[in-house]
């Protein structure tokens, strides 16, 4: 594979009820990413936007950000799904040889959306929607299945929330920097057993952008490109009843492909920092298993033993993770941006020392049906 670098990144502060429109948020992060790369919009030859008609409440939702993304007069396309998948398509467009500097931008305003109805619409229209099932209640089923099969407990989930909200205090872009205890999480309002308010990610608004560039071009424009070492993505079965929700098999496949490409044999040892999609606290532990950082059922041990703390062997979500800011569709791209900042040594107060290989992770669909794994390095 030809080497492709990430030469610029930009993100908004994530907040609930931002005043900016979709276009204004997109313009802000595109400008930031261009400035970060030290190039102008004229240097961009194609744009991949990320949007979803349900979350945006308008059809052909890509139209709403076409101007703001700077795509006028350029080749452009739109991925509907998590921003990590949008970045993947950007990568493929570069690798195809058709394009050089590729801009990928995602936006979402959760505060203008009705999450329960929107995620209910991801379920089977005849057999499942009538149950009222949505992202939270289906994830609760997954958490229960995970606890039952591998004997994890709610305290372990709560520890993830405590760790990540604490990490968020070091991230100026995070929405929920919090000093909380395990008891605070356990005593917070029940949303859907066993998921409580502080186990769940917030409703967030925000946008994020990255610029990808093929090696020859990247070296011309950037002093400090972060290289893409490996990628993988894979989808499991659609119906959650067709899956064992405690076994993230599609993540295992995606991670295997990404590790193979990056020649990584022992992920826990070789990867220095990971940004994973913890929409709910239990997910960080389950995804650790899928990413092969530990064996099946041992995700709880990682948090108990402090492996994933800032000072641990593998700091996970130094940014505070998705649980501290969850702009849907954007969050996976944010993970990539945070991984880039770690590799560059630009992560400021949330920097993991000497990070050379970073992992970023995005998900699509309910209960992590589809996963996308990125490995970035110097």
């Amino acid at each position: 594979m030809e080497r492709v670098g990430i030469i610029g990144v930009g993100q908004t502060k994530y907040e609930r009820e931002k005043r900016e429109t979709f276009g204004e948020m997109v313009y802000e992060v595109v400008k930031k990413a261009l400035d970060d790369a030290g190039i102008t919009i004229e240097d961009i030859d194609n744009v991949v936007t990320v949007s979803n008609d349900f979350w945006d409440g308008r059809t052909i939702s890509c139209m709403a950000v076409a101007d703001a993304s700077g795509a006028y007069g350029k080749d452009t396309s739109t991925v509907e799904g998590d921003g990590a998948f949008g970045a993947l398509y950007g990568l493929m467009r570069v690798l195809s040889g058709a394009y050089n500097n590729t801009l990928v931008v995602a936006h979402c305003k959760g505060s203008e959306s009705y999450s329960s109805a929107i995620t209910n619409a991801a379920f089977d229209p005849i057999y499942e929607r009538i149950l009222g099932i949505d992202a939270i209640t289906s994830s609760a089923l997954q958490a229960k299945r995970y606890m039952t099969k591998y004997l994890l407990n709610e305290e372990q989930f709560a520890k993830v929330s405590v760790k990540n909200h604490k990490n968020a205090k070091n991230n100026p872009f995070a929405q929920l920097p919090l000093d909380i205890t395990v008891d605070d999480v356990l005593n917070s309002r029940m949303l859907s057993d066993p998921i409580k308010l502080l186990d769940a990610s917030p409703i967030s608004d925000g946008a994020a952008a990255i610029i990808l560039s093929a090696e020859r071009q990247a070296k011309e424009v950037s002093q400090n490109p972060v290289w893409i070492k490996g990628v993988g993505y894979c989808s499991d079965a659609y119906r959650i009843g067709d899956r064992d929700l405690a076994e993230p098999n599609s993540l295992r496949r995606a991670a295997k492909d990404a590790y193979k490409m990056a020649s990584i044999e022992n992920p826990l040892k070789e990867i220095d920092v990971a940004e994973v999609y913890d929409a709910f606290s239990y997910q960080e532990l389950l995804w650790m298993e899928g990413l092969n950082f530990c064996r099946s059922g041992e995700g709880g041990k990682l948090i108990d033993e402090g492996v994933t703390e800032m000072g641990g062997e593998l700091p996970v979500n130094p940014s505070g993770g998705v649980i501290s800011a969850h702009p849907v569709l954007v969050a996976g791209l944010t993970r990539i941006i945070e991984a880039v900042l770690q590799i560059r040594g630009d992560a400021e107060k949330r920097q993991v020392p000497n990070a050379e290989i970073a992992l970023a992770h995005g998900i699509n669909g309910m209960c992590g049906q589809s996963h996308c794994v990125w490995l970035l390095g110097k």
Binding site: N52, T59, M92, R253, S370
Partner: protein
Amino acid sequence: MGNRVGIVGVGQTHHRSKRSDVNGQEIINEAVSRALAGAELTIEEIDAVVIGNMDHFEGINYVDMWSVDGSGGYMKPIMKVTTGGTTGSTVAAAGYYQAASGLFDTVLAIGWEKNSESDTSAAIATCANPILERETFAGAIGPLAAEYSMYMKKYGATEDDAHLAAVRDHNNGANNPYAHLRKRVTLDDVRNSPMLAYPIRLLDMCPRSDGACAVIYASENKARKITDTPAWVVTTTTRHDYTHFGDLDWTIMQTLEEASKAAYKKAGIKDPLHEFDVMELYLPASSCAVKWMESLGVCGRGEAPELIREGVTDMDGELPVNPSGGVICTNPIGATALIRVAEAALQIMGKADKRQVPDVEKALATGFGGCSWSDVMVLSSSKPR
């Protein structure tokens, strides 16, 4: 640099106004199974899947996830791309780029729609800005009518010029077993059909259909092993216009002009009328079949009516356009532009049966969508340099 890529298999459903015999996943599977059978491949030999449709027509969120039972995307890399009317050509471009990236050898690209499950015009109207434009913008017909009215005034084109193109496409469609509308019509039939929005009449306008289309792309080495006659992708280009309808220049089809110009440059095409053997164009109304020929550089400004009147674009003309019957015969929206690519590929592969144009070496396929997006794809029987 990326891999060269060929189309090695295409499949489509028999399109109808309402396919109540199948659900969405099943209609997708119908197209996928036919594409695999045509290429003599199994789903195990597909490395990645890309799919598209327009969310608000069926009301299903995360369609790439929902579709895996029908698409064969189970335990495979799958993603969704969508851009409104151009979704099919957006999917086509994604299939090409994914195979060209070197990450995959074979990529399955799928477009589909069950328009019978939606209120098409209402679902389209929400593309407009909710504060400024949504109340006055209603569906797809009005803007196309306004566009052709301006063109008629400027160049002296007539309603009959558009009707002639409608006759061409409808009669071509009668040769296509997959087409939704397969009824032969006369000029008088079109003239006497009900007026939808002046000057566009019912037989000038596309229907809304249920259907799906699947196209299999293969990287250079793999393509030759699968078929002796791949349809090689030479290039593909996209251009779109401003977000607000009031900002558009309605007297020209600027995005199609820019997209085709860019594609011709990359493909080394200087004289599209003579260098292309066939075109499968996303013409949502017969009026576009007149005006947009100029944007494609097939003739000069104001010369398109003459082109149509002289039959240059008829089946036995110099440059047959839409042997399949085109969009005014078949329009499952998320699949519509991918069907253009599939039909163009069939022409190159020599598999278009009764609608085959003899000895096709170069073919053009286009997509059209909201915000005046235009996609262009150039296919060739010979491997690009």
